[in-house]
């Protein structure tokens, strides 16, 4: 009861102090994607928009394709803090061209990317394996438990945007003929579990993953160089990411594009300062990695992690918001 009353009073004071800013910010819906870094970012955005700009924020759980489809067709949620845009490239470009969606930040997390990973000890024990081209010659190092004569490459869970890319690259590198099986881990939990189990036991493991994630940091996974250059963008978007790609060509994974995407109505109906915040909010790789390991070690949810971040990295996030908003946010944290 006490806390509630205090909260109300605080809200009242905040409202009185920054009437102008608040009048412009209404209800905002933010997509909280179902992986750690996106949960964390969504919660940071929520606290900053609520405390700093007086918005009323609702988090909406989502996944890349479902959230994008909803934003594209219904305009809800307003903000996708961490949208991996390659999976939805064609419709996204169309939506941006038509003005219904906007990218307000082309790189919210520095140093992020997808690729094929192995544990660091695999690289150390087998110094001859320098690139993907070397690894795919050695399926014997990564035996598939259901058929030990084959090597297991753990791809993407069914339905993820990367599933198609992995399947096509698997064909492009002619891995089936080389004795590999493309394993579908079924879900994020299956993918993480497969990797955690292998690394915990010290087994060699070869599969798809992405950075920044607590998993990459915690298990010291290394992204392997593909040993071939990135094929041209046209082939990537029109073939490798598509289901009906007849002749996929060998390619490195494209540099990942993460965007913070907002709807047109968010830009038009909200405080321009809140919109500007999204443009400045860039998490450096090191800080993002540290927060993800914090979440993993402490089993912290996005909200806990956001509070921890705002308490410990003040010099970073205060650069993203104005002085007035920074003060309001600091006050709300106490």
């Amino acid at each position: 009861m006490n806390k509630f009353v205090k909260g109300l009073a605080a809200a009242g004071v905040a409202a009185a102090m920054s009437q102008g800013a608040i009048a412009a910010c209404g209800e905002v819906t933010i997509a909280e994607m179902n992986w750690a870094s996106a949960e964390f970012m969504a919660n940071v955005d929520k606290i900053i928009l609520e405390a700093g700009y007086g918005c009323s924020v609702e988090l909406i759980p989502g996944a890349t394709l479902t959230t994008f489809a909803s934003m594209d067709t219904k305009g809800v949620p307003d903000v996708a803090p961490e949208l991996w845009t390659q999976a939805v490239e064609v419709p996204l470009l169309a939506a941006i061209a038509s003005g219904s969606l906007h990218s307000v930040n082309p790189k919210p997390i520095a140093g992020a990317g997808e690729g094929w990973v192995v544990p660091d000890y695999t690289m150390a024990n087998h110094p001859e394996l320098k690139t993907v081209l070397d690894i795919i010659e050695r399926p014997d190092l990564f035996p598939y438990n259901e058929d030990p004569s084959k090597g297991a490459f753990v791809g993407c869970p069914a339905g993820w945007g990367c599933q198609q890319v992995n399947a096509n690259l698997f064909r492009a590198f002619d891995m089936e003929a080389k004795g590999w099986v493309l394993v579908d881990p079924g879900s994020a939990a299956g993918l993480d579990g497969a990797m955690a189990k292998a690394v915990d036991r010290g087994d060699d493991y070869f599969g798809y993953y992405w950075s920044p994630t607590a998993m990459m940091g915690k298990f010291n996974m290394e992204m392997v160089d593909f040993g071939v250059p990135f094929v041209e963008m046209d082939h990537w978007t029109n073939c490798i990411t598509q289901a009906n790609c007849m002749e996929p060509q060998q390619s490195a994974w494209s540099a990942s594009e993460i965007n913070t995407i907002v709807t047109d109505s968010f830009i038009n109906n909200n405080d321009p300062k809140a919109v500007a915040y999204f443009g400045k909010r860039v998490f450096p790789a090191a800080e993002m990695g540290a927060m993800l390991v914090y979440m993993g070690d402490n089993q912290a949810g996005g909200e806990d992690a956001a509070i921890e971040f705002l308490l410990n990295y003040e010099s970073l996030w205060t650069q993203w918001v104005g002085v007035q908003a920074a003060n309001l946010i600091k006050k709300s944290l106490n």
Binding site: M1, L65, P157, A158, G186, A189, G193, A194, K197, N298
Partner: protein, 296 residues
Amino acid sequence: MAIFDEFPSLGRTELRDLKKGIDFAFKDFSRDNGEAIESFFDPLMFFMVWFEKLLINAPWPLMILIFAVLAWLGARSIPIVIGTIVSFLAIGWFGMWEDTMATVAIISVATFLCIGLGIPLGILMSRSNRLQAGVTPILDIMQTIPSFVYLIPVVMLLGIGKVPGLIAVCIYALPPIVRLTNLGIRLVDKEVLEAAESFGSSYRQKLFDVQIPLALPNIFAGVNQTIMMALAMVVIASMIGVKGLGVPVLRAVSNQYLALGLMNGLAIVALAVIFDRVSQAYGKRLQKHRQGGHGV
């Protein structure tokens, strides 16, 4: 009174240390014993791999013939046999044959495993009130606990694939057969038992010649429910890497492929209806025969 404003809970740190302690203990356990447990299940896994390959590689007309014969043996009903044939033809026609065979493979193995474990457990439970009191809550947990709560430890222990999938399916599908076996035996008329005793039946004769035969309709309802529950877990099992109809369903769900989801969902329903009708009809036939015999 501060104590009423906020629930007296463990502090953040204590709670965190508790959770971490449990997690690390489990990790150590899986690191030490994981390989041994995995190799214990290896024969089962290779059997499942072999069985799945057998079903997928067998010529499809032969498989449909086998299903039709099984349906006839179970149900003795022409409409059910025709329905079975038409369903499988439709499944094949819409390109879901391999996934369906993979699903049939894991469902059959799961059902036999559950029957093999569940009926003896149910019989033991019907013998002892104390055992019943102990096992019932465990069955409640198995049926209600969200599957991912135990799937993650199972995956940490055994990796992804068929065996963890089978365990997931069985945890959910085992309770009905245990419950209904127990119930069926307990429902056998006391007077019938007294009659058997007065004729000098031994304990074993009473169980196998009187109680179990009279409980068969209930036991069969349990088998039927176990099959249905196992089919309901197909999609969950696919979330930890089991091949079958669940995989395209998952793909459809995350991509809004309406047609793909609907087709594979309906294939699961078709399997369920076939298994259900056949096993129910078989159960009913058993009941009729017994009813005639005892005039109950």
